[in-house]
Amino acid sequence: MEDIDAMFSDLLGEMDLLTQSLEQGTVPSEPLPTIKKELNFSIGFTDLNESLHELEDNDLDALMADLVADLNATEEKLAAEIQGLDKPSLPPPDLPAKGPGALPAPSGSSPSPRNSTGSSTVTPPPASATSPLPPPPPQTTKPTKEEMEAQAKADKIKLALEKLKEAKVKKLVVKVLMNDGSSKTLMVDERQTVREVLDNLFEKTHCDCNVDWSLCETNHELQLERTFEDHENLVEPLLAWTRDSENKVLFQERKAKFEVFKNPQNFYLWKKDKKTLKDMKDKDKEILIKENFSGTSIIVPDLEGVLYLKEDSKKSWKQRLFQLRASGIYYVPKGKTKSSRDLVCFVQFDNVNVYFGKDVRNRYKAPTDFCFVLKHPQIQKESQYIKYLCCDDAWTLNLWMTGIRIAKYGALLYENFKTAEKKAASSSSWTNRSTPSSSSSSTPSPTIKAKAPSQANGHAPKLQPGPVPQDFGDLPPPPLDDFLPPPPPDPALPPQPPSLLSKPAAPQRHPPDSFPLPPLGLDSLPPPPPPPPLSDSESPPDFLPPPPPNAGFGSLPPPPAPVDSLPPPPPPAAFKGVSQSLPPPPPDPHFLPPPPPDPVFTGAGAPPPPPPPPPPAPAAATPRAAGRPAGSVKKMPPAPPKRTTPTLQGGGGGGGGDFMSELMLAMRKRTDQ
């Protein structure tokens, strides 16, 4: 029990520090320097500082916008939690001294200072920043002191445990290359799917959101390329990259990604003549999709043909008759029939991904340019375990690569497509409604900020309500008066947050929750994009095999991807949703500070997940190789010295502060210029 107390006091200390930095940050007039002094961040990922070195200034801007959004949301959540926690007494408004020494008493006494955090951040007018929260209504029944203490302690423990969990979430800063050569930098948390990252990018890029937009990874060393599937978590494959890799993440339209759902006949009836395929009626396409993707079982296209196989560790290629089956790729041994029982298994798909191989003619004396590669995602360098296969033409290559994806991912692919389609439909209807002139630039930045936390953020920290960095410099600052209705006394603190703390709350699954309500008085601006019709709750029944009879049989084979990505602990979104649905809509904190005239960074964030009791080895400060080529994607491998495997330790309390100060430094450098 003492452990817990100690741990919890750690947490509280952390929170206090954050509160302070926050307090300072709220004073809008004196932004940077103060904040810098007060910095005490800790973020649950490592090596961010390293990657930050390589960020260019504009990246920093964008990243900062994300971070701030993150912080805002978590801030609110924290406020809510605290509100729920501190039933017994109202803390004094003044803050304890900063620094690790000034921890509140571990148990029994209520963790006072954090209340002011809540009030200061959510109360709109800057003037009130330092004023304490109005006291909560006096309790009608006074519980005995013991009960209160016990209750408070239990709550604290729960809170602490949750923080621990959240602190373990890994995050990466990812630089995504756009089609036009520019790039966007995003913070991606390990629970985010590629779909979520794409949605994020849609908001940042004003592209048409069609279903072909994809994230791709390129492997420079092996000259490979792969389109991520929408259901995949982005962080995991990126963690496999070596630390000095020149691999990239691209944001591109890839026709091949969902081609099978647009023209299924080309894959399932590929033997038919071209004209029949071209003239295929929509109704027949639908039937094909239904047959192959909506039944109990996913049917893999019936593929068979001669391919060239690169011989192990040689530069020679030999021809073999290959066959694709749901269970893997097989080949027909010499002198045997094509009957199933004679087939020899070449590869099964559990542990390999399919890549497009570039430049194979030069590199490996390949017979054609149409090469697909099968390898374990972790393999990043030349190895005998990489399998190269060449097709005669581009179309055959497409057939095989798509067929392999169907065999590997099955129903998930179709779900991805349907989700992408809905997204595309909803965003196109939105753009149609909005005036063409302003639509692109006016994607309101609040949307991004509000959305990001729901996805990216697992921390419960603090925010800095300093001026909001504007990603969209050309967007005129929204007229403040319009947004700020007379501040409700305590808008962001719903009366009963404790319930939100309990684990089973429906958490992050509804991104729409996190869209702010369109601010009042914004009629002239296009509204934020309508929330994408959420798929994970409604679509699965359509293409999943019938659900098992009762809850006892929990493990359906292919769980829909989105569900997978749901993190267990209830994240901030839940609270946010509640607060926003309260009438009158509380002014979103994001809008509060008047945006600075020019898009210069003035604010700073202070996210602080309390470090878990045993902080992992401080991953910070591994000096980076100096002459490293400026890879476009920042890979943040773990820094531990003994590194057999690229594990990313979660919860790097130690490294986080460094990251943030790096960030601050970088930004200051920039403002100084």
């Binding site: 452990d3 239990a154 423990i157 445990l161 621990l164 496999a240 070596t242 009836l269 033997k271 029949t276 027949d284 039937i287 039944g295 109990t296 079982s297 049917i299 893999v300 019936d302 089956r325 749901a326 269970s327 893997g328 097989y330 094509k338 009957s339 199933s340 029982r341 087939l343 298994c345 099964q348 559990d350 542990n351 374990h376 995602p377 972790q378 393999i379 360098k381 030349e382 005998q384 375990y385 990489i386 309990s502 089973p504 095999p545 019938p546 098992p548 009879p549 009762n550 809850a551 006892g552 049989f553 929990g554 493990s555 359906l556 084979p557 003994k642 057999t644 495997t645 690229p646 594990t647």
Partner: protein, 643 residues
């Protein structure tokens, strides 16, 4: 009107009894004949199920309002007065025979509906009856020992509207005997002895496979009309491989029987699969038989019970979340570890070094090792993360060899590492840990203990198998029971065990229903799934070819090449006709594609029914799923009977 004598044989009077003669006029309707007949016999009993069968014309006189004249019956007609429902021995997909009363007077389609209602199988349109393959009667006593489950006592009236009781249709809840029958229907059978598989007929070619399809009964005519006698043996099988709305909640019998049919199709190589697939099927069969033995029959199809169950479960989870003390939670968060001395070997290195012993620590998803236990506080010599790695067993119980082969991905490629354990116990734990870690699960995962258990039971299997292959106790299964005879020859049971175990690790955590569903999914994903073959002769062709009929298409297989030469999909089909005189099927597809063929191994009515049946299956939809559109089915499959 003239009065004449009609003689009717009343079966219930005994086979030797002379026909009963009654005086009738031609305008007497059939109902009147029956009344007279019953009066004459002077037997007091329930005659309601009885009807008149016209022997010469092989037809039932079921329309009681029709007059004798209308039926064309004269004094020379030999009529028989018999019950419409008679006992039938029905071979189920699981190989078990039940005796039940089936309708001999309605079209087989309706007879099957009745049978399915009694057996609690939804969507009877997917099933039909076929004449069994004659068994070679080498051992006559064998037939006698075969247990027949008797369902003839079930009153037909109670079956017509089944209501559920204890998750079973009421007629199964009547007595213990009936409950046993329901269990037989809804629980998978244990794996058959290898000899049983070997002894059964296995089709050797597509043509062999085609012959079975000549045996389907005509669904538009009655059993009686097709020469089926009381107590004859018939098989009940899924005929259309298009399983609509398969819902384990309501379909336990159906699901079980589909699984059994699929399992036998694979064991008897009725459908081809690769060796890898066979091993996976074997692993699933092993798992299913294990789980269905251990899992109590809580598979009640009672919806209310299910809701209650899940509600309780929810509650439980909640309580857990709320009530368990934080210390518990914290304890749960500190992951368990394994610590032990093991031997490691890296075959990739070209050194001649053998296994070296180190102190190993298994934590989360990684293995680290140290020089000795004492040094385990410091830095490990190496740490290996097993996430995404391949794990293969290399075990020989007789030689006491317990090896875990790991193939560990790294940026440079895959590293091979062998871990050698001392004994069974150690092996089971570390192997289980490796398996979980390879899937990214830590030792804290709830499946850790069951994984250990399943590894041990597989080891036990090898133990008995290595002794004598025949000594299969209840505990272990001869792995030859899980694969087709081809692999009996190829592998000894103990060679098969590790291969099946290998496949087993991917399915070991499935619940019974999920495992059944997985089995069916893999089966349905086989390239040849759903094909029913018929040998045909295409118009203008001189050689026999094979027509494959699938749920969505027809394929033409050239027997010489053994390959699919043409595919036609039903959704391109404009119409199909049967010329009943020359017994030829003609089909027209879009784009002026016309084909015509005569059928060699099956009557063209069977082919016609298959095509029409599949088209009927594709018209089923959720909105109208509850009522079976019998009329449409008859229209699509009836042929000239339907006209």
């Amino acid at each position: 009107m003239a009065v004449w004598d009609l003689s009717v044989t009343v079966e219930d009077l005994g086979s030797d009894a002379p026909p009963v003669t009654i005086s009738v006029t031609s305008d007497l309707h059939v109902g009147g004949v029956i009344v007279k007949l019953v009066e004459k016999t002077q037997i007091k009993r329930d005659w309601s199920d009885h009807a008149l069968w016209w022997d010469q014309k092989q037809r039932w006189l079921l329309r009681t309002a029709w007059t004798l004249e209308k039926y064309g019956i004269h004094a020379d007609a030999r009529l028989v007065f018999i019950p419409q429902h008679k006992p039938l021995k029905l071979g189920l997909p699981n190989g078990i025979t039940v005796r039940l009363r089936a309708c001999f007077s309605n079209p087989v389609f309706q007879t099957v509906m009745g049978i399915c209602r009694m057996l609690n199988i939804r969507h009877p349109e997917e099933l039909s009856l076929l004449r069994p393959v004659e068994e070679k009667k080498k051992k006559k006593d064998k037939d006698l020992t075969k247990e027949i489950y008797d369902l003839t006592e079930v009153p037909l009236s109670s079956v017509s509207r089944p209501c559920l009781y204890n998750g079973m249709p009421a007629h199964f809840a009547d007595s213990e005997k009936m409950e046993v029958i329901y269990k037989m229907l809804s629980v998978t059978q244990p794996p058959p002895a290898p000899e049983v598989i070997t002894k059964q007929y296995r089709p050797a070619s597509v043509v062999d496979k085609a012959h079975i399809n000549g045996r389907w009964l005509d669904s538009s005519r009655s059993l009686m009309q097709q020469g089926i006698q009381e107590n004859d043996r018939l098989w009940l099988r899924f005929k259309y491989y298009s399983f609509y709305d398969l819902d384990p909640k309501y379909d336990m019998v159906r699901l079980t029987q589909i699984y059994e049919q699929a399992r036998w199709a694979i064991l008897l190589e009725d459908i081809d699969c690769t060796e890898e697939e066979m091993m996976l099927f074997g692993a699933l069969q092993y798992h299913i038989s294990k789980v269905s033995q251990s899992e109590p029959q809580n598979l009640s199809s009672n919806a209310a019970m299910d809701d209650l169950d899940s509600a309780l479960q929810c509650l439980e989870v909640k309580m857990e979340g709320e009530s368990s003390s934080a210390t518990d939670l914290l304890e749960n968060m500190t992951a368990p570890e394994l610590n032990d001395y093991l031997k490691i070997f890296r075959p990739k290195r070209l050194t001649l070094k053998g296994y070296k012993q180190y102190w190993f620590k298994f934590q989360d998803t990684s293995i680290s090792y140290f020089k000795s236990k004492e040094e385990s506080i410091g830095e490990p010599i190496q740490q290996i993360n097993l996430k995404g790695c391949e794990v293969a067993p290399d075990v020989n119980m007789a030689a006491q060899k317990f090896l875990i082969r790991l193939l560990i991905p790294a940026p440079e490629g895959m590293n091979e590492v062998y871990l050698r354990c001392e004994n069974e116990q150690q092996y089971a734990q570390w192997m289980a840990g490796c398996r979980l870690a390879s899937k990214g699960k830590s030792l804290a995962d709830s499946s850790f203990q069951s994984e250990i258990q399943s590894i041990r039971s597989f080891l036990a299997m090898q133990k008995t198998n290595s002794g004598s292959s025949a000594a299969a106790s209840d505990e272990s299964i001869n792995t030859h029971s899980l694969v087709s005879p081809r692999y009996h020859k190829k592998y000894k049971p103990k060679q098969l065990t590790p291969r099946i175990l290998d496949a087993y690790q991917n399915v070991a955590q499935l619940s019974l229903t999920d495992a059944l569903m997985r089995f069916l999914q893999i089966w349905q994903a086989l390239p040849d799934f759903g094909l029913s073959y018929v040998v045909v002769r295409f118009k203008g062709s001189r050689k026999d070819e094979v027509l494959g009929i699938a749920p969505n298409r027809l394929i033409r297989i050239d027997l010489g090449v053994g390959d699919v030469v043409k595919t036609w999909r039903y959704n391109n089909m404009k119409q199909w006709n049967v010329n009943w005189d020359i017994r030829q099927v003609a089909i027209e597809f879009e784009g002026n594609v016309n084909i015509a063929f005569s059928c060699v191994t099956a009557d063209c009515k069977i082919v016609h029914e298959f095509i029409g049946g599949y088209i009927f299956m594709s018209t089923r939809s959720r909105e109208k799923s509850d009522t079976l559109n019998e009329e449409l089915f008859h229209k699509l499959t009836g042929g000239h009977e339907a006209l």
